[in-house]
């Protein structure tokens, strides 16, 4: 072998070795970038106003959606719901009920403490639940909590997964929870800072802290996100289908109901038929595709199809001609004021579109946010993935009669879980009251920066922040 050949072979070998080392290094770096790791400050922004962090504070109506995001960070509930809406253990390890489903016993998970070190006891849980549910008879029994209600409460485990049923230790105006984060700073309506709990009973969150800016306009939020001042922002429904420069948008399943709610019951058959005509006149599809940029689905029922599986049974197709025929067959002139939320940028256009559709059918509707409305355009978030619980709370929020699935269906006994037929019957009964005209089921969405990982794409749009971690892809030094 010639000397030059040996030299050539040596050079090639060295090159191959270098290439192999380089490949190994790149692979290692790449694997490090996609692997969850601890540390960092997650900076978020939500548009909704939050004046109180107490999940049981019923007066904080406008901030309920935001509380549903924030409460799980500070507090735990006895149960949680999985993606199918089934109750799963959380602070309660197990539960059981009697035959009538009126007496329930929840066994608490041992070894759990509040963020101030106070051990979680049955007394503390009972005291917390009594605040949110004064009609329940709640009593501690050793390491268990006994909950008794006047009527069958077959969905009580799912009900207890609601944020409002979070276990909160209320001491001297302070709210202390067992959640993955503890409160570091709180300026009501402005800023919230949370610190990760090292001793969290499940697992320490990846990020060290979370900073949440509250009440900022969607435009400011998006601007801050694109400038790298925020890691994630809550999007309005009409922004859900959009894109974010240098980031991504995470959509939930439709978990918000856009509906018209009348302020009072139909006072006559003609009034009822007029409301039916209005429901037929509205072109929900155009509302969804044009006004809300396909960020939802036309809604014929109160609950979305992914939750019930039967929503397609309720028609959403507009029939202006039929609506006009109904209107012409009614010897009653209508002049309704349609109220809407002025702070919602899409609400006015939606209300005006509804008025135009109604005008096609001869129905006179005047969008007017200031006047005392005959009907109101509202958005209501579905509080639970459990359809029955969600329907109950929808009825409460819309001030509709409480659904009674037991009366609607005879197929289920009190000890059995409610069937889909029961749910359909209950929902249909609510719709028959003509108090509400469902329009759209809307998605909630979050725009995230590129460095945010592990964001759960849950159907109900929950923020599963303990599993979120931050990569070093987008260094940022600016504060939100």
């Amino acid at each position: 072998m010639k000397r030059t050949s040996l030299l050539w072979l040596a050079i090639n070998s060295l090159a191959l070795a270098s290439l192999a080392v380089a490949s190994l290094t790149i692979t290692t770096v790449a694997r490090a970038a996609t692997r969850p790791h601890y540390g960092g400050v997650l900076r978020l922004a939500i548009a909704g106003p939050v004046s109180s962090l107490d999940p049981a504070d019923a007066s904080n109506v406008s901030g309920q959606t935001a509380i549903q995001h924030i409460a799980p960070l500070l507090f735990n509930t006895l149960t949680t719901l999985d993606d199918r809406g089934e109750a799963q253990p959380s602070l309660a390890l197990a539960w059981k009920s009697d035959f009538s489903s009126q007496h329930w016993e929840f066994q608490l998970r041992p070894g759990i403490a509040f963020s101030d070190g106070t051990p979680l006891t049955a007394n503390a849980v009972a005291a917390s639940l009594r605040v949110a549910n004064p009609r329940w008879n709640i009593s501690p029994a050793g390491d268990s909590v006994i909950i008794e209600s006047d009527s069958a409460a077959r969905e009580l485990p799912a009900e207890l997964a609601l944020s409002r049923n979070s276990v909160v230790l209320r001491e001297g105006g302070k709210l202390i929870g067992t959640g993955p984060f503890t409160l570091a700073q709180w300026e009501p309506g402005k800023n919230l800072a949370l610190s990760a709990r090292e001793d969290y009973w499940a697992r320490r969150p990846f990020v060290d802290s979370v900073e949440i800016a509250i009440g900022r306009s969607p435009r400011d939020q998006m601007l801050s996100l694109e400038l790298g001042r925020l890691d994630g922002v809550e999007l309005a429904a009409e922004q859900a289908s959009g894109t974010v420069a240098g980031g991504r948008v995470v959509n939930s399943a439709p978990d918000e109901l856009l509906t018209i709610v009348f302020s009072r019951d139909a006072h006559s058959p003609e009034d009822r038929r007029l409301r039916q005509a209005l429901g037929l006149a509205i072109d929900r599809s155009l509302l969804n595709t044009v006004v809300l940029h396909s960020s939802g689905e036309p809604a014929g029922g109160l609950l979305p199809n992914w939750m019930t599986g039967y929503e397609f049974l309720f028609s959403t197709s507009p029939d202006s001609q039929r609506a006009r025929q109904i209107h012409e067959g009614i010897n009653q002139s209508s002049a309704w004021n349609l109220g809407y939320d002025q702070t919602d940028p899409s609400a006015r256009v939606i209300a005006e579109r509804i008025a135009l559709n109604a005008q096609d059918a001869g129905i006179n509707i005047k969008p007017n946010p200031a006047a005392s409305p005959d009907a109101q355009l509202v958005r209501i978030r579905l509080v639970s993935r459990d359809a029955h619980v969600a329907l109950n709370h929808l009825a409460i929020s819309l001030q509709l009669p409480a659904p009674d699935p037991h009366r609607a269906s005879s197929q289920s006994t009190s000890s059995q879980s409610l069937s889909t037929a029961d749910l359909y019957a209950a929902e249909n009964a609510l719709l028959q009251t003509e108090r509400a005209i469902p329009l759209l089921h809307l998605r909630t969405a979050v725009a995230l920066a590129r460095n945010v990982h592990g964001w759960s794409e849950a159907q109900d749009g929950r923020w599963d922040l303990p599993n979120v971690w931050l990569s070093a892809e987008k260094p940022s030094t600016e504060k939100p």
Binding site: L286, V290, V291, V349, I350, A351
Partner: protein, 612 residues
């Protein structure tokens, strides 16, 4: 009316008429000038509005043309040239572009007139725009009524057509319709002179609607006040002017000029209302009135002063002359008038002074003459009175001398008779002298409380015997006494007064007659009348009746009535006579009650001093 007042009236009228005439003339001239200026300002404002209207129309056209040439419009036209039409991407496009171009209205409309994107009514996508003139596009800006979610609005519009090339259904194009609202901001852009304002009335509904009245300066207090005018202009479809009384204050009045504005269909889309405040005119008129009143007042004051001065110049000497004449009438004949002027008044004053001077001299001459006459009369009386007793004395003495010489034997008897006669005549002489002496030494009355009726009765009783005495004709006496009440006087002197009057009356009726005594009572006086039915007296006799030593009788000293007048005068009263020849004579004595001259005990001194 006095001369001074006449002068005042003449001066005041002259000043008032002059000032009023000037004021009226100035007012008329001011009104005409104001109306002319108002017309000019209105015309200028209308021209400015039309210029602004044109300018803004061109501006809008330019903006719409810029939009039609923009990438956004191209993108929209391209998107809607396809079969699948999606309004969603352009829902807010028109609003964004309109904001950028500062337009109130902006719509993208497809070839069939369907709204693709609307700035003023975003929800109206997919609906037709019926008001758009797609057949023949106007080249310039035009007025158009625009439907809005909350009503209607009038705007100045421009439209541009964008060709999008060959589409799925042939030649494709879209329209860009942009405009600005004829609102307060639009009208506020007009540069209005002070006192003028511009309003706009949107002619959307039949009948007057206050909500359709756009007033940048604020809503008029009562828009209904121009309702009739607006409807009249809309009906007549031509410019018109009216005067609007907004309130009861004339300064709030406004001259309103209405100009119809037409849309593409030549319908009146609205009215431009140019208001011109009449405040300046009213204030000017007020100032003229004030100045007139001031000038009038000053003129009146001046007239008063001038008339006073002139009247003083003219009438003061006259008044002095009149006053002097009154003084002369009162007996002050030495009155003189001092007039410091010249001319007729001064001549009159000199004549007056000369007259009074002459009168004084005449009076003094008369006094001297009368005094001489009185002395002559006195001498005659004295001679007459003394001559009567002297003649018997002379005869008696001559008889004694003749008896001593011719019949000594009868001398004693004659001496005795003669001495008796001499003594009687000497006594007669002494009586005559005593009466004259008594007249010259008339005593002052001693006031006592008395009833005049008692004195009358005493006098009648005293002369009763003589009324029907032998050798004379019968005189009937009648007494009519009133309730005269108490009075104060000297009973003896008053008795003498009444006696003299009654005796005079009896002497006046030698052939008999009727003597009547009457008393009357007044509040502060008591009067007594003594009437006879004698021969009466002539006026000349009446005038001289109370002159001392004058008598109309064949006997008497002529002092009786002089004494009567003296006594009555001393009592503060008066005596008068009225008589006609052959109809008798009536003497009337009027006496004051003089109760204040009585002492507390009923007596009082005639000097008025109270004795304590």
């Amino acid at each position: 009316m006095t001369f001074r007042r006449k002068l005042l009236v003449i001066f005041a009228l002259t000043v008032f008429i002059s000032v009023a005439t000037v004021a009226v003339i100035v007012s008329i001239l001011a009104r005409r000038a104001f109306e002319k200026a108002d017309d000019e300002r209105t015309a200028a404002l209308v021209a400015q509005f039309q210029h602004e209207f044109t300018r803004r129309g061109e501006e809008i056209s330019a903006r719409v043309a810029a939009i039609a040439a923009s990438d956004a419009a191209t993108r929209i036209s391209y998107a809607f040239s396809r079969k699948e039409r999606d309004y969603a991407p352009f829902l807010g496009e028109a609003r964004t572009i309109a904001d950028n171009q500062q337009l109130d209205f902006l719509e993208f409309v497809d070839g069939q007139g369907t709204i693709i994107s609307s700035a003023q009514w975003p929800a109206k996508f997919g609906y037709p725009d019926a008001s758009l003139p797609l057949g023949q596009l106007p080249q310039s800006a035009f007025l158009k009524k625009e439907d809005l979610p909350d009503g209607e609005a009038l705007g100045l519009f421009s439209v541009r057509k964008i060709d999008a090339g060959e589409g799925h259904d042939g030649e494709n194009h879209i329209y860009v319709v942009g405009g600005r609202r004829m609102d307060k901001e639009f009208i506020s852009g007009l540069e209005l002179p002070a006192g003028m304002r511009a309003m706009f009335y949107e002619n959307f509904k039949s009948g007057f609607s206050p909500q359709s009245l756009i007033d940048p300066s604020g809503t008029p207090q009562d828009p209904q006040k121009i309702a009739d005018f607006v409807q009249q202009v809309l009906a007549e479809k031509q410019e018109s002017t009216t005067l609007v009384h907004w309130t009861s204050n004339p300064a709030e009045d406004e001259t309103l000029h209405a100009i119809p504005l037409r849309d593409l269909d030549n319908r009146i889309a609205g009215l431009l209302l140019v208001g011109s405040s009449r405040r300046q005119y009213v204030e000017l008129r007020q100032q003229i009135r004030s100045a007139t009143l001031f000038a009038g007042g000053a003129g009146l004051l001046l007239a008063i002063l001038l008339s006073g001065w002139a009247a003083a110049r003219v009438t003061r000497p006259v008044e002095q002359l009149a006053q002097a004449a009154r003084e002369v009438a009162l007996g002050n004949w030495d009155t003189r008038v001092n007039v410091h002027s010249s001319g007729e008044i001064a001549e009159l004053a000199d004549s007056f002074n000369h007259m009074t001077h002459e009168l004084l001299e005449q009076r003094e001459h008369l006094v001297r003459v009368e005094r001489i006459a009185a002395w002559k009369e006195l001498a005659r009386r004295l001679a007459h009175e003394l001559k009567n007793p002297l003649f018997p004395l002379q005869l008696t003495v001559e008889n004694l001398v003749r008896a001593r010489q011719q019949t000594p034997e009868q001398f004693d008897e004659i001496f005795h008779e003669s001495s008796t006669t001499l003594l009687a005549e000497i006594a007669n002489l002494k009586a005559i002298i005593s009466r004259f002496s008594e007249f010259s030494r008339m005593p002052q009355p001693q006031f006592h409380s008395l009833q005049i009726n008692d004195l009358v009765r005493d006098v009648v009783k005293l002369v009763q015997a003589q009324l029907q005495g032998p050798g004379r004709s019968t005189i009937e006496c009648s007494v009519q006494l009133a309730d005269t009440g108490e009075m104060a006087g000297d009973p003896e002197l008053l008795h003498r007064v009444l006696s003299n009057l009654v005796l005079n009356a009896m002497d006046a009726m030698p052939q008999g007659g009727r003597l009547t005594l009457l008393t009357h009572a007044q509040e502060n006086t008591v009067s007594v009348e003594v009437q006879d039915t004698g021969m009466g007296l002539s006026p000349e006799e009446c005038d001289r009746l109370f002159t001392p030593y004058y008598t109309s009788k064949g006997h008497g000293t002529g002092l009786g009535l002089a004494i009567v007048q003296s006594i009555v005068s001393d009592h503060g009263g008066s005596v008068s006579v009225r008589s006609e020849p052959a109809h008798g004579t009536t003497f009337t004595v009027v006496l004051p009650r003089n109760l204040d001259k009585l002492q507390p005990g009923g007596e009082e001194r005639n000097d008025g001093q109270v004795e304590v």
